[in-house]
Structure formats: structure tokens, C-alpha cells
Symmetry: D2
Subunit: 363 residues, 4 copies
């Protein structure tokens, strides 16, 4: 069950980068949710490359295809199978590099673990491409969360060491989609664009940081001790290729504060307890406290770079040098923003169903 | 199943801070592993407070009691139930503060989620005390990992913003236990001690960062896409109260590097591919690559502080001020070190069993 | 996780027949359910031997001990740990028979599977005694089902080939507890008693059939295709030692009917669709249809008999003869009745929670 | 996760009878197993109707389509997605009967459970057609079991009350496929054929009993207490539509035997303990004992019959009469034989992997 995630609202991932298709099955979705191909396509389009200087020039005309579980425009309660048929595939380059694992990639570990039987073409199961399935599941999860007014969004807060300035949630919401980098701070986005273009020229790549936010979560999501909301979210987020760190609220910074600084004092607002600050990132004891949930995700620089790299030949056990050709993203951060949103939505949806906050039939 | 973790080697946590006991059940442990109360007690003793200025002066004479699953000194293949009977309990203070949720604590979320039926005494299920159960399970997991030569260790690398210097694994291994802060850098440990003592005088608390290391992992642990080794480890680590961030290898720093800097080049060493650097922290594509697995965990400052804090009265919905009495750790980082080790061991053990690396009967 | 059952309302079994204790953990129980030791003891007492000629004369003064999860008389939402401390144990007989597996028992398979490390005393994990834990979990499940008016009951319908006559549910309910065999038909019970007494004199044993009934189930329990209500119930029932068959409604008899005889016609009663007959046993397509759920469970004769039997010596690989001493039930059917009730209640409770029919906090 | 089954070797079912496709995902299959479309098609063809008088005359040219997880003729270790694209569909009849639930069918429960949003065409998720997916998964499971010499087979032992005579395993193996009813007893098969033809003329249907056998199982499959081999098998078998009873070995008959008759005495054969009889059906304490595993499955008569039946109109809440048109199997037993084999293979494969008997990479 290692390709399934969630306990009530469960997603199962399948398909390979250069195989026939990429797919996802959503099991446990309540019946009666209005959804159509357009709702899913809309999310999928946000993941498209080619919009920004950061992305590959490969054309990915990913089209969502609903194979089961939706009937007359509504979910039926049965497993929903969504796929994208792969097109525009050129695996020639991969055949040549079969025994030359790319540094920073899963080529080597996949080869060892699966005894050389893995579908290595285009990174197979380890390609960022499989996250297209996550995004399709996210489209459905977001619709469900909408029923309880919960909103999930993510945005770029750092690329190549260039940070965006601090902004209010409303500002972020309005501006994050205004540029292809999905950075709400237009000025920072300009600097990031320049850095990306320069890095591209060097045949190199950049990483960055994404911030995910969930607004209007009820104060009871999370099933401690092991299915705590932060535990479940981090598991889902680390399933995204290239993620190397996850922190909530003040995160690593909280380790440098004193208790009196880090603790968020409670106050009454509109007859409800809220906290004056939000160093906890909306989570206390693994349960949402009703404040905005804030998570930050570190994305490493794209492993596939044009620059010459040192590797080994797994067949001959000799060192070798590697020069990758093909079309790779210089920085996947902008595209990963939508994947972070999707994995947050999927996880929160599962926890909301587990907490009994969403009914099994939508009326 | 929210109090169970793992798929083959499964732990189930139960018990409350001020209830009768704290316990853990380990299901799926192979038969034939030699283990006795002393093996478990040894690990448990490392979690004891009172050794360092960081810890509570409360006496916790935690004694491991084996209730099932071990017979004639060997595991039987049946569920192993390990408990600690609670003693030295004074819940009086908690009765008084019932409706005054402590900032930074689970008091408020627990109250909301469980409709006021939660056992609030001593933090109930949300007390750091439940991690004593994790440590007992860790003792068994470490013995199992020993069969495949895998070693797990953790150490303090930062307290109150004071970092330890970079050290080799061997040095860390030799020195981490040499002081009560479990910091391999003796000089840094001294500064940390001073900071802790000063903070204690202010009635305040400190956080810090723990580094976990697993050595001699075979290059095939992890079950992508969702049960990736980093995904599983992060879930286990975020289940530890007070953890606010988890990063692997270069972690958040990798977000600031270029691909050519961050990618670890492969080289041949003793006829085996290894990487020259280890920014990946021993993980590629969610699978161990045979290099040391390195994870860093941010621990927030202890939420319970003597300093006056602002909170609300949940019954009267008014603001209130809170002055906590009782014996609290100024900094839980040194005690959390052993919990990080335990959760790493438990998770790696489950993945090693899932990969078929440990037999079902030890001979 | 092979000692855990259920997805939301989960039970985890531990302990051994001649070890320190027998226990069960119930995870996922809603908070706010009023429950105390007496509620659990009441169910446990029904499983006591010594009431009927069918049972062992061994005194089993099983006392339920609540170790966690219940506070001030209410469930807290945390894992509930219930145990019985073993007393009156004499394992001497088992030491002598260590390498002489009892025919019909798990001695041989347990020895092979766990490499000889299993706790063989009193049958260890394979003793009927572990079902005392199931019964304690059942006590809680029944209370929860009571909230949605669902009632679970079981009764003896056959012992040693002697059937009870067909009766209405109300009659069964009133009379099943009127004799120690838990057979609603007093006349049949008399014949069964005679058969048991005669069989006892021969040093032999008897089996029988138990019928389980669930009344007032809502018409939507069951999560097809794999977690169908019959699939889940059968799994739970086959976990009871000595069960060799499970059938629903007309069961094996339906295989001999024509479709026009077996199909239950729908009619309207009190503005609701019901079926005129109930060959389906209350289940259509793996989902409850609102009619009484009816299941029958075949219990084999007790494997431990005084009569001389042929077996082998596992150490010397020679044939041997076996004469068991000790106090064994001649027929476990009457005691198994309460275990069938318990496993039905536990399973239906999990499905009711999964269907969203029971809230997470009872108010 | 209600459409997923298994813990290591996991299958996930999706698709609807009259939707685009029927599919299955197999997760956890070891890498390196040689398999191709033909291997799967061969099994699928055995489920084809039209071979016997028992079956529908509808043409089901089901073609297995491998969508993922197999590369260059070998499994890769990634999820294997297998589908059948639906053709020859006529849903017109179903539109007319939308509010007239067929007696004995899931129409009513499905309507209630999913609030009327279920895809009712052709029975949707509740059609026997979804078992085509089970059969495809079974094809892979059987290949894996072949690696450890385990063989799974099933045959018809009763139709319409006509039993086949008792036969040895070898005879069954040789003759079960010799007639379209999959009954090894040719004489009985003739009588069954006559009964089926007569029943067809009456517009009625027949049920029957299938026996499943697994040969050369190692003596250690099964994970008690809850994942006992009989518990897991029964759950899998009750997931097949129309199954109303499951019994192992002597089954319900054992309830009528004495212990001295039912217990299988151990003897030594070729230096190994075996049992002289096999009333246990190869299972002791929920673990295989190395003897042939024997299970019998009761199949109710097909619910869809041409004869006029009484039902209700769910919209108007009035009684109604129902005359089904269309092409239905008079008796699904012969086709269900292959489904029983498939579900046995899938379950035994999961248990063999859990017991560590099959490696994660086939070499």
C-alpha cells in the first residue's frame, strides 16, 4: 500500500513518466459532489510548464481524463480514476544514460531497490511528472474542503536565496497568481526571474521555498498521537520529489526563541478564543487550533542540469562524466506550488472526513 | 488507528501522563530476538530528567515492565506490551487550571476536539511523558536494526541559538553522551548550560535542534511514492510533541544552492558507488542510498513556563493571566534526543522489514 | 498490524493464556461515552466457565481492569486499554507436552511459524482465553451501538447435531439467557445437556452452531467492494478460535434455491421499503438493507480431549500418543456465544463510525 | 480504502459495469516477475460467458490492457494498472428500472447509501462484472505463488442441489476444465446442465457451491490473531458478489462431529509431520499447516431473473411488479470458479509476502 495515502479519503498513485499514462485513484470521496473535467483541468493547467523562464520548454498538454467514479456530473461514492495520457515522449536520451545515474536523482536507488527492473525512462515513477496525479486529486479535495469553507493556497517565498517580503494573507491571495513564479511580491519575482535566467545560461538550476496556508480550518483537525495534523501533512509533503525540509509556523526559528516569545497568547475575539500571534502555525498538540495553518517547504534545485557532472557507470563500476541533454526545468518551485496546495488539500480532506466534518453524501 | 504507526513493525501508544500508566504495544516484531527488561530500561534511563540543568527536578523513576510478547528472554512473535506505572503524581495544579489553556500547549485543542472529556491532568495524552513509550519501542527496534548492522544515534546541535561545531560521525558517537545536554561539542555544551541556567532564573524556556543519524543503512530502504523513507521518518518525528521542523541532508539550505553545488557526485569506493558529498542526507527519491542518513529536528522552547502569560478562561470566555507552578523542563532538547533516536529506529525497522531485510524468525 | 482490527474503531489484542495478562486496546472510540468497570465486567461474566456442564471446572475469576482512556466515568477519545490479570495458572502440563502437538490445535503451526519461540503455555496466543479481550471491547462497542438503537445478540442453535427449533427474534431475546447453554429452545437445551454429559464421560468433546443477529441496523452499513459488511463480519468471526464456517441469511441453503425462491421481494411497510422474507440475512451487495442481519457460525468440537490421540514428537520426529490431562471445556459453544456477539458489535461499530452514523463526541 | 485489499500485495478495484472501464491496481508486486498481456488474458478468458448453458449470451470480449507497472515484459515494482474497456453496452433497460430495485440485488442499498448518486447502470459497482478486475490481479498472484510451488484451483461441486461426487485432487485438477461448468464429475455435470436448461426455460436461476483448493502451501501462512489465513480468505471471498457462505475443511459438518472424529491425528511422512485426515482444511490456529487448504463457497442463485417479481417504486413508495429483460446468467457458479481462484491467489500471495516467503526482487 505504499502508493496509497490517507485513511478515509485515500489516493492511489500509478503510472510512469514515459509509460502510457499518469493516474490517480481517489477512494472514499463522498457521493454527490458536483465535479467535471473542467474543474480538474483548471488545476492541472496551473502545473503546466512553459509559462515561466523557470520551466522546461517541453510542451505538456496534459489533459485530465475521468475514467470512473463520476456520473452525470456528480461523484458516485465509488473510486474516482483520473488519468493523463502521456504524449510528446522521447526516451532516447534515457536509453543512453541507463547505467549512468544522475547525481541528485533516484536513478541509482531505484536501480538497486528494484534490481534493474525499474522503468527508468524519464525517471519512471520518480519523475516530478507523477505529481500531476496529485494535482488532479487535489482538485477534488479542494472542492470538498470548500463545503466547510476551508481554503488552501500556496506561494513562492524564496528562489535561489532571494526572499519575498512578508505579506498579509489577503495580499498573498490576490497577488500570488499574478506572475508565473507564483510569488506574491512582484519586486522579488523580478529578481528571481533574473537569477533564473542567469542560472539557465550556466546550465545550472535553482531551488527555493514554498509557503502553504490553510484558512478557516475548524479547531479539531488532526488525530494524535501518530496522525497529528503536522505528522500527516509532512508525510504528504515529503512525498513530493525534491522536498528536503518541512516546518510549521515559526519552524526552525522557534528553536531559537524563548518560551515567552514563542508561545502564542490566547485572547477572545468575537466570543471565540484566538491567539494573538501564530508561531504555532495553527497547530497545537497536532490538532488545528482554528488559526491559519502555515507550513514552509524547502525545494532543492532541480537535479537534472546541463553542466557536466561526475557519476559512475553501474555496469562497469567506473567513474564517468555526465552531460545531460533534453529539456529540464531550471527551477521547479513555481510548478511545485500547485503540488503543495494539492497535497495539503488531500491531507486536510482526509482529516476533515475522519473528524466527521464532511458528510458521506453531499446534498 | 491514529495511535498506531508502521505497517509491519507497528507500535500502538496508550496511557496518560497522570493516569495509571504509559504504554506501548509492538506488533510484528520477529520471533527469536533476545531481549530483557534491562535492555529496555537502559534506553529509558537516558530519557530521565534530573541529570541536567535543563530538566525538571521531578523524580521520574520510570521502570519498564514487560507485560506480554517476551518469553524465556526472547520475543515470541506475539504483540509485546511494555508499560511504565505512573508514580509521584500531583494533579492538583491541573485541576485549578482546567479552563485556562496554557499558551503553546494542546490544552485548548484537546478540550475542543474531545468536547471537554479529555484527561487534562498533566497534559494527558499530550504530555511529553507519552514519549517514554516510544523510547521503549525504540529499544527493541534498535536491537533488530543491530542485526543488519544499522546504527541510529542523535545529538544536540543547537540550544537557545547556540550551535555546536561541525564534527565527524565518530567524534559525535564518542562524545554525545559525555555531557547531560547530549551535545558532542563540550565547549558549546558549556555555553548552552549557562544559557539554560539564566533562562531558568527568568522563569522562561529554550528550544533547540537535534540531529539524527543512521549509519550503515542498506541502499534500498523506503517505499515510494507515499511511504518514502523521508515521508515516513518525518511523520514519526512530527509525532513527538514540540517538533516544529524536520529537514534531511542540506535541508532548507539546499533551497539556496545551485544544482551543481547540491547534487552529490557519485564515485566508486571499495567497488561500490558512494557519493562524495552528502547534501541528500542519504536519501535519493525517497530511498536510502547507503550514505549516512542525516535528519535535523527543530524543537520549540518548552511551552510550560513560570513567567506570567496571557490566556483565556474557556468557561467564562474572558481573558485571564496564567502563572504556572510545578516542575517543568527549561529545555527538553537533551531528553528529546533519545526520543528522536527511538522514532528513527522504529521507522527504519518497519522499512527494513517491509524491504525483506530482516527475517521473521531470528536464528 | 495483524493483531489490530478495524479502521476507525480499532481493537488491538495482546497477552497470552499463561502470561501475565490478557488485554485489548480500543482506539478510535468517540469521547463522552459513559462507561465503567461494571459495564465491562457484566459482559465478561457471561463468558465465565463453570455455569454449564459444557465448561471447564477451572475457576476463571476474570476481572476487567481499565488502564487508560476512561476518565471520570467517560471515554476521553484516547486509546482505552482493558486487561485481565491471569491467576490460577498451572503450566506444568504444558511443559511436558512441549514437543507433542495436540491434534486440532495450533501447537504445531505456532511452533513452525515462530521457530519454537512461541509461548506455548496454555496455548499462548492461540488459547480461547484471548477472546476475553474481544468481549471487553465488545462491551464498549455495544454501548456505542446502543446510541443508534442497534442491538446485537447471539444464541446457540445447535450442539452435537441437536438443533433448536426456529423462533422469533423476541422469543430468542427473552429466552436465550435462560439456560447456561444460551439456547432459547429449552427442550433442545435439555437434549444438548444430556449429550454433553455423555460426551464428557467418554473424554470427548462437541461442537455446534451459533446464530448472531443485529436488529435495527440502518440501511447503509458496509463499505464495498472489499469492506462489505459480510466481508468485514466474516473476517472478525473467523478470528475466533474454533470457527470453521460462516454464512449469512439462507447461507449454504441459498445455493440450493432458485432465484425466485431466494430473492426477497420488496414491500412497503410504514412508508419504508422492507423485504417480505430475509434470505439475504439483511445484506444486499455488502450493505445492510435495514432488515435483521443474521449470521451463523460453525464451531468445531473442542480440540483438547481426554481420549487418547495420535500425534508426533517434533523433536524426535517419531509418532507418539497423547493423553491430555487438565480441565477443558467439553463444548465451548455456550461461551463462544458472547464472543460472537462481541465481534459482531466491534465490526458493526467500526462500520457505523465509517458511515458517519455515530458522532466523534457523544453529548 | 474500502476498495483496496491486502497489506503488502494490495489490490485496488475501480470502474463500473456500464462506465468506461473495469480496472484493478496491484501494488506491492515484487519486481522482476515475467508477465505479459497473454498471461492475464488467459485467465480472463476463463471468466468469459457463452461457453455454457449457464451463462448470458451477451458477448463479453474482455481484453486485458496493461497501463502501468510492467516494462520490457517484467514487473517493475511499481503499481500495475490493468483495465478492460467496456463495449457492447446497452443501459436502456436500466434507465427504465431506475426506481424499481431488483429483489436480491444491491439496487436498493446502493441507492440509500449513496443518496441516489450511484451509477446504477448495469449494477454499477455491484455488478459481477467488477470481478473481471479480480481475475486479472489473480493472474499475477498465481504467477508469484508459482515461484514457491503453490498452486490454487477451484471447481464446481454443486449446482441447483446436484452434488458432484468426491474426488482426489489429481482427478479434480485434470477434469475440472473438461466441461463448461468446471465440474470435475462429468456425470454430475450432465445433470447440472439439464437442471440449468430447465431453469432457464422457467425464467429462473440457480446457485451452487464452489470448492477452492491450495496445494503445497508452506506451513506458516497466516498472521493471527486477526489476519489469520481463514479470516483473510473469507474476507476476500465474501467480497465476491453472490457469496453467502464460506467454510474451511469439514466446515459446518465439523460442528456435528466429536473432537475425536474431527481432530486430524499427526503422523510422520517423509520425515515431516502431516495429518492423516484433513478436517481442518489445512488450517490450524489461523496458520496453514502444510496440508491442502480446502474452502467451500456458497453462491446464491443469480438475482436477475426473467420471472415476474414484486418490488417497490422508490420514488412513489408504492408496490410494483418487475419483469427483467436483457441477458442474464442462469447460474453464475461456473464463471465464479475462476473468481474464487483469483481471490484465493491474491490473498495467499499477500500472506506469503508478509511471511517473507517471496523476495522483493525476483531473480
Amino acid at each position: 500500500m505504499s502508493n496509497s495515502l490517507g485513511k478515509i479519503f485515500t489516493i492511489t498513485s500509478f503510472g510512469e513518466s514515459h509509460g502510457k499514462l499518469i493516474g490517480i485513484i481517489i477512494d472514499g470521496c463522498p457521493a454527490g459532489l458536483a465535479i467535471n473535467e473542467h474543474d480538474i483541468q483548471k488545476e492541472l493547467d496551473k502545473r503546466k510548464p512553459g509559462e515561466s523562464p523557470a520551466s522546461t520548454t517541453r510542451k505538456e498538454e496534459d489533459e485530465a481524463d475521468i475514467l470512473s467514479g463520476i456520473f452525470n456530473g456528480y461523484t458516485t461514492g465509488a473510486p474516482i480514476c483520473l488519468v493523463i495520457w502521456n504524449k510528446d515522449i522521447d526516451s532516447g536520451e534515457y536509453e543512453k544514460g541507463r547505467f549512468l545515474p544522475r547525481p541528485g536523482h533516484a536513478d541509482y536507488t531505484s536501480y538497486i531497490k528494484y534490481g534493474g527492473f525499474d522503468d527508468y525512462r524519464g525517471g519512471g515513477r520518480f519523475s516530478g511528472r507523477i505529481t500531476a496525479g496529485f494535482v488532479m486529486a487535489g482538485a477534488i479535495a479542494r472542492k470538498l474542503l470548500g463545503l466547510i469553507k476551508t481554503e488552501v493556497m500556496a506561494h513562492t517565498i524564496e528562489i535561489g536565496g532571494i526572499p519575498s517580503r512578508h505579506m498579509e494573507f489577503n495580499e498573498i491571495k490576490q497577488r500570488a497568481a499574478s506572475n508565473p513564479l507564483r510569488c506574491a511580491d512582484a519586486e522579488a519575482a523580478l529578481k528571481m526571474t533574473v537569477a533564473i535566467e542567469e542560472t539557465a545560461k550556466q546550465g545550472d538550476s535553482l531551488g527555493g521555498v514554498i509557503e502553504g496556508i490553510a484558512l478557516r480550518l475548524q479547531a479539531e483537525l488532526g488525530e494524535p498521537v501518530f496522525d497529528a495534523i503536522d505528522a500527516e501533512l509532512s508525510k504528504a509533503l515529503f512525498s513530493i520529489p525534491a522536498v528536503k525540509g518541512v516546518e510549521f509556523g515559526a519552524g526552525f526559528q522557534s528553536a531559537r526563541m524563548k518560551g515567552s516569545e514563542n508561545n502564542d497568547p490566547f485572547v477572545i475575539e468575537k466570543d471565540k478564543p484566538v491567539t494573538r500571534s501564530n508561531n504555532a502555525g495553527g497547530i497545537l498538540g497536532g490538532i488545528s487550533n482554528g488559526m491559519p495553518l502555515v507550513v514552509r517547504v524547502a525545494i532543492k534545485p532541480t537535479a537534472s542540469i546541463a553542466k557536466s557532472q561526475q557519476t559512475v557507470n553501474l555496469k562497469e563500476m567506473t567513474t564517468a562524466s555526465l552531460e545531460l541533454k533534453g529539456r529540464h526545468d531550471v527551477c521547479i518551485v513555481p510548478r511545485a506550488v500547485i503540488v503543495v496546495e494539492a497535497m495539503m488539500a488531500v491531507t486536510l480532506c482526509d482529516l476533515a472526513l475522519r473528524a466527521g466534518l464532511i458528510p458521506r453524501v453531499i446534498k
